[in-house]
């Protein structure tokens, strides 16, 4: 017994070091797996407040770019208005829709919620965004995030009272189901950590003809994003000799350098398919 105490006294510094290292490594591996811990909510609130102060200044330098992309988004929306289209048809007449507005609201699947970006990084090996909108403003985990022009940015991974953390596409663990718009082939979009704004599109068979500049959109298979949101365009096609699939490099449509506002997509019909899937898994076990 005495020897143990002597041992502890002699090697106390080493033991203390191993203890602190253990704490750090535990925190690291724990957060990488679950993206949510007890302290991350508090830490998120504090860093959110500091980041907001910084963003108040930084925002002014980005006003011009933000304005330009808002004008672009508005242009797309204005071109979709009903009065822009006219049929040279005598049948065209005004009809009053008899469906009650309540039933229409029940049909709604996706609801867009605006959020201010307060923190953003592009040059780390795992990048996150911080949004000034949290639990109290209706965000929960696993919601999709798009930029002002409705192209994919990431997924909400952690939510605190007033702030939330978004895993950006520029993250080693981000994996989004995507589709070639032209042929409808599905694959997954990941990031290899090399260049910001360039992603990798995997699992596309070599039998498919892919060209530079082809559009890649969301597949709508996951419950985070609706079908057909723009992810990016094909930048270059690597012919991987060791496998039967291409490695396609994709230039993202969203510009991660100057994100000031984003939209968080709330899927209001998420529960039913999830419940169904759970039941199927249960019966198969």
């Amino acid at each position: 017994m005495r020897n143990i105490f002597i041992f502890i006294r002699i090697y106390f510094n080493l033991l203390f070091f191993l203890f602190l290292m253990g704490i750090s490594l535990f925190m690291l591996f724990n957060y990488n797996r679950y993206h949510h811990t007890v302290y991350s909510a508090t830490a998120g609130e504090i860093t959110g407040m500091i980041n907001r102060q910084y963003n108040d200044v930084e925002y002014y330098f980005q006003l011009k770019k933000t304005n330009d992309s808002l004008v672009k988004a508005n242009e797309i929306l204005y071109n979709k208005l009903k009065q822009d289209f006219e049929l040279p048809d005598t049948v065209t007449r005004l009809a009053i829709d008899s469906i009650r507005i309540d039933t229409l609201l029940q049909q709604r699947k996706y609801l867009y919620l605006p959020a201010k970006v307060v923190g953003n990084s592009v040059n780390l090996s795992n990048n996150y965004l911080q949004l000034h909108r949290g639990l109290q403003q209706g965000l929960v985990k696993d919601m999709g995030v798009t930029d002002i022009n409705n192209s994919v940015v990431g997924t909400v991974v952690d939510v605190s009272t007033n702030y939330s953390v978004v895993m950006s596409l520029l993250h080693r663990q981000s994996n989004i189901s995507a589709k070639l718009k032209k042929t409808g082939e599905t694959g997954s979009i990941i990031w290899d950590g090399l260049q910001p704004n360039v992603m990798v599109f995997k699992d596309i068979s070599k039998e498919i003809k892919v060209n530079k500049g082809d559009t890649i959109i969301t597949s709508g298979f996951s419950d985070k994003f609706p079908y057909g949101l723009l992810i990016g365009t094909v930048k270059e096609i690597d012919d991987d000799k060791t496998s039967s699939t291409y490695i396609i490099r994709v230039k993202t449509a969203a510009n991660f350098y100057n994100l000031q506002y984003v939209y968080v997509i709330n899927n209001q019909q998420k529960e039913e398919p999830q419940q169904l899937l759970k039941n199927v898994k249960k019966t198969n076990e």
């Binding site: 510094n13 203390f16 070091f17 602190l20 290292m21 704490i23 750090s24 490594l25 535990f26 925190m27 690291l28 591996f29 724990n30 957060y31 990488n32 811990t37 302290y39 991350s40 830490a43 998120g44 504090i46 860093t47 500091i50 980041n51 910084y54 923190g119 990084s121 592009v122 040059n123 780390l124 090996s125 795992n126 996150y128 952690d158 953390v165 080693r172 950590g193 090399l194 260049q195 910001p196 350098y257």
Partner: protein, 177 residues
């Protein structure tokens, strides 16, 4: 200015410079991620206890982790260099009794070559351990070695610039008092 206030100011300044300047500038290359925040640990007084240094290192690393959302990554690397710091100081100190004559490690108290060996070794260790933990997740060990070396080189350049721009006045304290 008292030691405590000076170190509190340094702590916040280093964290803010790392988060809002170095992490924000467009990357030179994907292999280069410069860090200078750990200079706070290297600049702590000679006389500070080893456990205190390690706890401060954990706090420093964790504060940066809160901003980059990599809880534990920088904390682990900072604790490592805080633990190894006293061994290196004992090895490299050249002037007799510099620990008692001067307050903290600097070019003036240790001499240029020993001080920069001390900084370079700890920078390399910090970066290697940091990127090693990062690659555990993803693999790619050649990439890790290259990234550690190149990032350390750029970080060292930044540290050298910091030392030249912000000369720390070191009072010579005679031990006869």
């Amino acid at each position: 200015m008292s030691n405590l206030i000076k170190n509190i100011i340094r702590f916040t300044l280093f964290i803010f410079i790392q988060v809002f300047v170095l992490n924000q500038v467009p990357p030179l290359h994907h292999l280069v991620t410069p860090y200078i925040y750990f200079l706070f640990i290297l600049w702590l007084p000679f006389k500070m206890g080893r456990r205190t240094v390690m706890i401060l290192a954990l706090a420093l690393g964790f504060s940066l982790d809160c901003f980059t959302k990599t809880y534990g990554l920088h904390a682990a690397s900072c604790v490592l260099i805080a633990y190894l710091r006293p061994f290196l100081i004992n090895l490299l100190i050249s002037q007799e009794g510099a620990e008692s004559n001067y307050n903290e490690p600097s070019i003036k108290s240790m001499g240029f070559t020993p001080y920069f060996t001390y900084v370079a070794i700890l920078t390399l260790l910090h970066h290697s351990f940091l990127f090693f933990l990062e690659t555990l997740e993803t693999g790619g060990y050649f990439y890790f070695v290259l990234k550690a070396l190149l990032s350390s080189a750029i970080s060292l350049l930044l540290i050298l610039l910091t030392e030249l721009l912000f000369v720390r006045k070191q009072r010579f304290r005679t031990n006869t008092v």
